[in-house]
Symmetry: C2
Subunit: 278 residues, 2 copies
């Protein structure tokens, strides 16, 4: 990937120009291209970016749900972000991405909702402590992928357990993956980067079956547990990501995800439901 | 609760009159009243009911996300259900509930998105088998609640583990609840009833802290794994519900939920993020 700017590729991809309140214009980024459209995580991050840029935003991200209605084509798109209700400490957003279809008419490619919240310090506890694993330096980085899925090269991944099967031989017997991960090149963590990282995991069905079947996220939800100050403190450090499937049934499976920073702080939890074939 | 019809209370509560395509009129039901508004589960079921009644619906529910922007007042409300994109096997919905505010203007109380899907039989497996517990008859039913939270009387609950603390003494040390549950009186299971049941659990923070602090769901997502035929086969049987908190932080916690039928079939998984005070 070549770039004409000095921005980090993620910041390039998340550039949105406001044409009216809550109306933004963006452009797909070749560096985050998947197979037939952008990496789902970059789409989620783009929607959150529209919320972050909105002049009327209250507080910081609490939840984000993104529904992938159709693949974005390479090129320009528009984002609509509307704060439909603002309470004293929470704000509710409806979001969508639209793109001109073959006949020039605007087509909805993505729908979403988000909640932002002004949070106060309270009693806090984790009921899901970070698993005990060796630090990032003890795990090898996945080498760059040439000529395959471009967005994979935008992340540094250091698998710990449950990486992509080496043989598609039907031998799978679990769906748990753990890995250290961060943007490549390293970039200070923020909410948009975290939203994208929540979608980093390859489809659980590949691991569970050791079969390379077509699969794609239909809907993802991210709950943000950290403040912007805690994300800043995480900086360019690694996140420990954990993903596990729950139920695989008749063309769809769901997965749960947890993301901790190296200090063991839970930054986000996430869930998604994913289409698979056969 | 008295009733003027011979319908099950859930069917009464879910009655929607179509005034235009995707536009429905409903009425809050005293039998499902919580403290300052309806039980969140009945609101989720009402939104799904609008999808189920829509003449253009494709397939059966796959996912539903409901964001509680503000409490509904007792009385009439309107539901908007729009299929914004229909693909070959999935359909994407945006939904909202509106109600007249104090000044007569329509106010959004609830936003939601849903995905319906035409599913085909494929390879299937569960990575989260039903916990081994004693059958429903071995667990006592919670007695009716008089003069407290009315909606609790619309459900039969047979706690197994992690029920509401008997003393609010700050002694809590976990957030896992398991119980057998079904509509009261018994009613054949369908997607709307299942959506409501996914929100049946009392706030995890009460269990984790053994403190009775104010709490309320901000956003819930339900993933449906069963077909209508499998729900029919479940009939009026009990569901085993399991809920567990993950992270409690600065005014919000999240929980994961699984719902199995007595035969051990996973019917739905769910998660929510919940506000709590102090």
């Amino acid at each position: 990937m070549t770039s004409s700017s000095h921005l980090h590729p993620l910041d390039e991809a998340l550039q949105l120009a406001a044409s009216a309140p809550g109306q933004y214009q963006g452009q797909t980024h070749p560096g985050y291209w998947n197979m037939v459209g952008p990496f789902g995580g970059i789409t989620a991050a783009t929607l959150l970016q529209a919320v972050m840029q909105h002049p009327d935003r209250l507080g910081e991200p609490l939840s984000l749900t993104v529904n992938y209605a159709g693949a974005l084509a390479a090129g320009p798109f528009s984002v609509q972000a509307t704060p439909v209700r603002t309470n004293r400490s929470t704000q509710h957003w409806t979001l969508s991405i639209l793109q001109a279809g073959a006949d020039g008419a605007q087509v909805v490619t993505t729908t979403a909702t988000a909640v932002t919240a002004a949070r106060r310090e309270t009693w806090s506890v984790s009921d899901l402590p970070m698993p005990s694993v060796q630090p990032p330096a003890q795990h090898a980085t996945v080498p760059p992928q040439v000529g395959t899925i471009e967005w994979l090269n935008r992340y540094e991944m250091r698998p710990i357990a449950g990486f992509i099967p080496e043989a598609w031989d039907g031998s799978g017997d679990h769906s748990l993956s753990q890995l250290w991960m961060r943007d490549a090149p390293p970039r200070p963590l923020d909410f948009c980067a975290l939203a994208a990282l929540a979608d980093l995991f390859f489809p659980r069905v590949w691991l569970r079956r050791a079969r390379h079947v077509p699969a794609g996220t239909v809907s993802i939800t991210v709950y943000f547990h950290a403040s912007s100050a805690q994300l800043q403190a995480t900086g360019t450090g690694y996140l420990l990501g954990q993903a596990r499937g729950q139920e695989f049934r008749n063309g769809f499976f769901d997965q749960t995800v947890q993301l901790w920073n190296e200090a063991g702080l839970m930054l986000a939890t996430s869930h998604q439901i994913v289409y698979f074939k056969e």
